[in-house]
Symmetry: C2
């Protein structure tokens, strides 16, 4: 299959293949993105996050269907913060989207953590670019919004939708506090459940405390599985976009996303270098043993590693 031609012709398999190449760190994939870089920037990126069990997949599903009715092309990138082993787990989630999967205008991809050293973020950024080149109008990036790495991923979005749910445990307070800064639109899902009003009120209070100025994130009650409140939710997402463009914040946020991405790529390149050195000369193993035997401390080891890299790991 010619991936370059396939990608531009709207062939889903070509796009899927390219994302896999990115995940595998294939330099050819980066070349293809570079060649098409001028095409990037048309898609709107919507991040969907929230605590486990909030029903993010169902919300994404319904929003995607709504957008599809307008004849738009949609991508859903579901980020799984766990491990390569969890393919099966995410699959369960994704099965609910089977009717979307057969729709030619919808591309769905689950992405898991590859290694522990920041590769996931680089892969997700890459996949978003592929979907943009592929001609998607909207790219939904769905992730569990608890860890810092997931928050970083969702920061590439133009609009961040935070899906909350009534009656989660104690930790939810901590999650909410961290979330306030990144949520542009809030949805209280399963709002027929006990405590929905309380959850909505808590969010409003925290938004009050946060002291928003020009733009106040709206809080919408929805029941995603019954498709209730989805249109109103989408309107709120559209309104946020309009605010972002008219206020000039849109290009500011895109520039922040670019900054995050450059630094992520930079970090990953350095780590790739460390890995290469490790394979070649066992420098790192040597340093680990020295620290373990208390001949040196880890801070000194990190500087020695850096010196080795400067000498031998140059471009």
């Amino acid at each position: 299959m010619d991936i370059r031609a396939g990608l531009l012709a709207g062939n889903k398999r070509a796009a899927a293949r390219l994302i896999t190449m990115i995940e595998n760190g294939d330099p050819e994939a980066i070349e293809i993105i570079k060649e098409n870089y001028a095409k990037i920037g048309k898609a709107r990126i919507i991040g969907i996050t929230g605590p486990p069990g909030a029903g993010k997949s169902t919300v994404t599903d319904k929003l995607a269907k709504l957008v599809r009715k307008q004849g738009k092309k949609v991508a859903i990138i579901a980020v799984d913060p766990t491990s390569p082993f969890s393919g099966g787990a995410i699959l369960g989630d994704r099965i609910r989207m089977s009717d979307l999967n057969t729709d030619e205008g919808v591309f769905i991809r689950s992405m898991g953590t590859r290694g522990a050293l920041g590769g996931l973020s680089k892969s997700v950024h890459g996949a978003i670019k592929v979907m943009d080149i592929f001609g998607c109008d909207y790219i939904f990036v769905e992730t569990v919004g608890v860890g810092q790495s997931e928050i970083d991923i969702v920061k590439v979005a133009d609009t961040v939708l935070m899906v909350m749910v009534p009656g989660l445990g104690d930790d939810i307070q901590a999650i909410k506090a961290g979330i306030m800064e990144i949520g542009d639109v809030f949805a209280v899902n399963k709002s027929d459940r006990e405590g929905a009003e309380k959850t909505a009120t808590e969010i409003e209070i925290m938004l009050d405390l946060n002291g928003m100025t020009e733009y106040r994130p709206p809080v919408k009650n929805i029941i995603a599985k019954d498709n209730k409140g989805i249109e109103e939710l989408w309107d709120a997402i559209e309104k946020h976009y309009e605010y972002m463009v008219s206020s000039g914040n849109f290009s500011k946020r895109r520039q922040n996303a670019i900054e995050t991405e450059i630094l992520e790529i930079f970090k990953q390149n350095l780590l790739d270098k460390v890995e290469k050195l490790e394979k070649k000369g066992e420098y790192l193993s040597d340093l680990i043993k020295k620290v373990f035997n208390k001949q040196i401390d880890p801070y000194t080891a990190a500087i020695e590693l850096s010196n080795i890299l400067n000498k031998e790991g140059g471009e």
Copy 2:
């Protein structure tokens, strides 16, 4: 206050101050750790993780009390994966521990995310060292086990206790799948709730699928708030430690933790350099603008950043 003398004399305020210095990136703090590096390695590090709402704080509380009865010195480091804003949120959790807080043999510290670029992990590693030098026998590191960055933090532990709970939402499957690899001991908390048996069985099945060899992680039913099953849980943690030592895996794991830490410090040092350059010459801003205007792509920008660093950012 003389921090060096205070630390070795067992002054809690000196230890707390030193951890704050680490969080603020004060190089003097690193110097103090370096000077005392030979003292490090005596404390046992127990990671406690699990999904939001599982009752990790209560479990940690009860385990700490049990260990205190044996006359051991204990530290609790509660890692908050959210933001500097969430101090108040964690405080709620920590209030439950107030009776521990007045105990001279217990040191409690909450640590939040400082910046988005990996500083938290470095700070937590540093705090663990401070507690080790401080003479703690056990260091409990408690964190929400969902994101990759939190999993990385908990990897420094000699034993990882995974606290699960019956009846969490859909995402729990994904979390569980990622957790299987790092859990040494499993606790099903709130096991008087409906679905507790099902949760325990699901964990056992996943452990079966995982194909454990020499060591099989035990699954313990507990009700932490009523102190039920806590002694059995502690026995299981002790047995895991005995297995680790007798099998030789203990030193292997410590070496892995050292590797993680050297790489974390190395990464953080590089990012600090980038930040310094940024302040000095606005190199990064320039690159961001070029990418935004599509004069270059982010992959090229990352390499240019690296070249600038090699030229001007050397030690």
